[in-house]
Amino acid sequence: MRALGIDPVGDVRATFRALVDATARPGTIQSTPTAPADRAVLATLVDHEVGLYTEDDRVADALSSEGRLERAAVADADVVHVDGAGAVDLEAVSRGTLKEPSDGASIVYRVDALREDPAASRLGVAVSGPGVPSERTFGVDGLTADELAAFEELTVDFPRGVDVVLAADRAIVGLPRSVDTEVR
């Protein structure tokens, strides 16, 4: 992962801790040690054990040079890398089964910006559910209300669903399937 400027042990561990905090406390903004955060997340989670869908050739090349790349179509991928709204047909993404819901995909979604203040952003999001004391809000640029609704749609029959990580620059926000989101 040095090809991406990411230390394969220290940076990856710090990125994982950011992911843990982001998933356990949905709606909070966590920071990764390297930018862009979506590449850091992929470098942390992806190897040949999981199918990856990505259009980002730099990530694909870096993974491939370490023998860690196993490409998959959107419908079969365990990790789906989305670069901007509308780049991927979210309906096709795997949501696991009732018996093995953890087979549902993780979506790493690159957006333009993430902010704590929803009013300062183009889309304000309110999050509630496990990990959230009552409700938490954050703001995002580069994600449409339709895409947010599509995430919701994918988790209607919880525990099936997908787990989303929004990433911009060094910031990430986790939207695990257990939470409800609303446009604010």
Binding site: V12, G131, D163
Partner: protein
């Protein structure tokens, strides 16, 4: 007989390496000088084996080829032959990725048991291998790590796990609950209130609470899929009919986020309410059964109970004999002179209380935490445990 066999093995192994060859020669010469032909060949061989073995485990640069003669010398070799050659935090990165992916899925689906490829660890499965894998995939050089085993920091298993993390991951060890950023634990949740800066890693021997009503893992996973927990309820009902009380000591089954039935690992009932709407992330890891599951902070965790048979915590007839606590989990211990007394199970907090009896469980946080002030249930109280959740 066994000794002989082992030393033969060692002699064979030492033949492979260059260093070993040297030390073996040195040992031979030494042996030749010090013996006057009275020792049998077999004794010579054994001695060579032992001595050259020392040479292998300690390729000390200061004294190449000279076998250490004392136990202390051997131990020194083990300590200095440290960690070079191992990856940071012992696990290889491929293993960490596997554990990390499972951990994130577990947090995303509270209470669901996520399978993962559990690796061989340098201790037997069932001794905390799952907990170690999760801890080591989390730990970084800026972390402070505490390990407890049944409330004690000093048990052999806890001390060894802590030392593994200390030597391989460079973390600061601590015994103070409030100072730790990650706490690995077996069978207890510490008495002091945990904060949102901390992660608790619990070792789990048996993952599925349904296993005691049905031995088939496949059928039980189907039950979890459809949230069909009727068999568990029947089992609890039978318990009440037979004993007039729900007779579950540790690992009291809980419903997480209103969806998944989960075993909180064999923590006493006393600790169960601490999982409900906590500030802390709880990770549960079973190395032998290769499962990871989680309770995120601010998540509902309800012990299964009936309207007229409420969940109850343990009752203790006496205060702690060491610190006088009446609001901690106590265990009956027998002293050397045969006396029986009750003492706090969480030794680190008990020691704090012995120094300052007024210290509260929430002394370091400025929040109102529900469970730490729960009133001590009266010994002979009826089933009206108001602390129900």
């Amino acid at each position: 007989m066994t000794d002989r066999g082992e030393s033969d093995d060692d002699t064979l192994r030492t033949g492979d390496g260059v260093d070993a060859g040297e030390s073996s020669t040195a040992a031979e010469t030494e042996a030749g000088e010090s013996t006057t032909g009275t020792e049998t060949d077999a004794e010579d061989e054994t001695r060579e084996g032992l001595e050259s073995d020392g040479g292998v485990s300690e390729p000390a640069p200061s004294s190449p080829g000279v076998a250490p003669e004392s136990v202390d010398g051997l131990l020194e070799g083990v300590e200095s032959a440290g960690i070079e050659g191992y990856n940071y935090a012992y696990l290889d990165e491929h293993t960490k990725r596997e554990v990390r992916r499972a951990t994130l899925k577990a947090i995303a689906i509270p209470g669901h048991q996520v399978p993962f490829a559990s690796r061989e660890m340098p201790l037997a499965r069932g001794w905390g291998t799952g907990g170690i894998q999760v801890s080591l995939s989390l730990l970084g050089p800026d972390d402070t790590f505490k390990v407890i085993d049944q409330g004690s920091d000093e048990s052999v298993n806890a001390a060894n796990i802590r030392r593994l993390a200390e030597t391989t991951a460079n973390v600061d060890p601590t015994r103070d609950t409030t100072a730790a950023s990650i706490i690995q634990t077996r069978h207890r949740i510490p008495e002091e209130v945990l904060t949102d800066e901390q992660i608790l890693v619990l070792q789990v021997p048996t993952t599925d609470p349904l296993r005691k009503v049905d031995g088939s893992d496949d059928r039980n996973r189907r039950r979890h899929a459809h949230q069909n927990y009727s068999k568990m309820w029947v089992s609890l009902y039978e318990n009440v009919v037979e004993w007039d009380e729900i007779q579950i000591g540790a690992a009291y089954p809980v419903l997480v986020n209103g969806r998944y039935l989960m075993s909180p690992s064999p923590i006493p009932r006393w600790d169960t309410p601490k999982l409900h709407q906590a500030e802390t992330l709880f990770l549960f890891a079973a190395g032998r059964e290769a499962r990871i599951y989680a309770v995120p902070p601010h998540t509902d965790v309800e012990p299964l109970a009936f309207e007229d048979k409420r969940f109850q915590r343990e009752r203790f007839p006496e205060a702690c004999a060491l610190c006088g606590s009446t609001d901690t989990y106590r265990t009956e211990v027998e002293t050397d002179d045969g006396k029986r007394l009750y003492a706090c199970n969480d030794t680190s907090f008990c020691e704090k209380r012995q120094r300052d009896p007024s210290i509260q469980k929430a002394h370091h946080v400025d929040r109102d935490v529900g469970w730490e002030r729960l009133e001590e249930p009266a010994v002979d109280a009826a089933n009206d445990g108001g602390e129900g959740r």
